[in-house]
Symmetry: C2
Subunit: 341 residues, 2 copies
């Protein structure tokens, strides 16, 4: 049988309370006693039953999720997933608060994080903006014992305990590989549509895309990046303009969100003359565009996985437990019209 606290107590000749103190590294145990208990723990091969511990403690994990108030389908879906997690709160012993901040606004994010710090939850998940001030508050949170997980867009590795999102450099590289192979003309010209270079995910996708294109497909020309702040209306006019100006434009990589505008502009073009288009995030509109042949491939990150993973990791960090890396890796989904879920 699995050894329990009773076995440890008996083996070490102490009471349950003392075993518990040692187990949870609480003060008030003489060195000698502590050592006897630790010895017993090792010899018996004790491993604590977290569920029983949480039951006894009546533990609930208090987490804060800081999400950008973005109007694009991906962020709306992300928020919905957090809400779904909130709906499971009682079963999962969590207590999750959603905090909305203006998008692409480092100052607002810093402020939100400081507010969170004042309340000292068990953990915080944030869609990061990769700025020094943000990193600084994140580090203060970590120092205060709050688990910090970045979601979708990362900070530098310092300043957070875990990143729940895809490898965006690899995503950009993958997009370039597909773009290069799908482009039939060797003298392709590719346009790039981004949200903002303030967020690391967009920067990294761009970086990966450019490096593979120049390595493996040097004949493809790249037009200047259009930053449309993930705003559908802005994206629409910019792309319409680009399509008009650059007659030889035969590829578009949309590395941000706000694809509704892009798709509207694309639908105005004759099917035969449409560029190869690769976009991010499977939403109602990109799905439809994929099925219709307006978009050729969609790279996707599963918001549900990201949120569930973030919560698992926050819990593990709060309990000082290790995370199962293979399980928490967020994969880059590649959708063509033939493998839509």
């Amino acid at each position: 049988m699995k050894p329990t606290v009773h076995d440890i107590a008996r083996c070490a000749g102490v009471s349950l309370a003392t075993v518990d103190r040692v187990l949870n590294a609480r003060p008030g145990v003489r060195g000698a006693t502590r050592e006897r208990v630790e010895q017993a723990i090792v010899t018996l091969g004790y491993v604590r039953d977290l569920a029983a511990a949480n039951l006894a403690k009546g533990r609930t994990y208090r987490f804060a999720f800081i999400l950008p108030a973005n109007d694009n389908s991906f962020m709306i879906g992300l928020r919905r997933e957090v809400e779904a997690a909130i709906a499971r709160s009682s079963v999962e012993r969590t207590q999750i608060e959603i905090i909305e901040v203006p998008a692409f606004d480092g100052g607002a994010l810093v402020l939100a994080l400081e507010n969170v710090l004042a309340r000292k939850p068990d953990g915080v998940a944030l869609v990061a903006i990769d700025a020094p001030q943000v990193r600084a508050v994140a580090e203060r949170l970590a120092d205060a014992g709050v688990a910090v997980v970045t979601l979708v867009s990362d900070l530098g590795a310092s300043g957070r305990h875990h990143y729940a999102g895809i490898d965006n450099i690899a995503a950009g590289r993958t997009a370039a590989n597909l773009m290069g192979r799908f482009l039939s003309k060797v003298d392709g010209r590719v346009g790039l549509l981004a949200g903002s270079m303030l967020v690391r995910d967009h920067r990294e996708r761009l970086e990966g895309f450019l490096s593979v294109l120049s390595e493996d497909f040097p004949q493809v020309a790249i037009l200047p990046v259009i930053e449309a702040r993930d705003d559908p209306a802005l994206a629409e006019t910019s792309i319409r303009e680009a399509l008009r100006r650059h007659v030889g434009l035969n590829g578009i990589y949309s590395l941000g969100a706000g694809n509704r505008g892009l798709i509207r502009a694309l639908r105005e073009v004759d099917a035969a003359r449409r560029p190869v288009v690769i976009a991010h995030e499977l939403t109602a509109s990109t799905r439809k565009a994929l099925a219709d042949g307006v978009i050729d491939a969609v790279l996707n990150q599963d918001a549900g996985h990201e949120v569930r993973s973030a919560i698992r990791v926050l819990k593990a960090k709060a309990d000082g437990l290790p995370v199962l890396a293979a399980q928490e890796r967020i994969r880059i989904d590649i959708f063509l019209k033939d493998n839509l879920p």
Copy 2:
């Protein structure tokens, strides 16, 4: 506060034992009493704490995993994942037994299932062979209250409670889409390497592949399927032979396992004259081949996810709980050399 059994007992004016009987649909409660308790459960909005229940019961879930004794990396990896799950047994309250059966042998599988039935575990996961006799035993297991989950390769939807694996028709369609787009010559000739048409996953991949090729890329010719029983040596000689005979062979879709042999044969061909190759399952050898440009794309199913998902589903079924479909969907990973994990 969340209502507990005590609240129900008080509200219905009965003892805890009676509440428990009603909660677990055990006999020996008068109709009127039962109704009062059920009423209390509803009005209080009670939802049971599974962890506490399992603690009190000392419950452990007994599962059997039936795996084919195949010598390919994928099956070896799958087995390793089940072993990893066994290592987590004490934490997860499981007791998992691995049963090996000869590969592609319906009779052996039926026998194994009958042995399992005699022991009546809580659930069984099997890599299915899609034969009527197998389906029949699976149904007897289900009737006996054993949860049945197919792993990697499915039975018809009847006969099992859940399938933990990818949509193989979609996988075949995806392979065809990539193949069609990657083939530069319009007069492509594509060879097909399969394991066995006895297993549903291979049949479905073939079906999906052929349908997209004929719909969207009718100019591509398809050679007869080679069945190599997922045996690397057999695959090697068959492919070497095919490459020799069909000089215009410029595409190969390997829809089964046993890719080590395929890769050996491919490496003998001049890089410039190598066909476009799409294979399944990311293993040490396909990973290397992808990096080296010998294989162009790998479709993958994550064995770790499949095993963990199968266990979650078996537990849920054993407890009569619903499963979170979105979480349990096994996705088709598409790996190019640029997004290797």
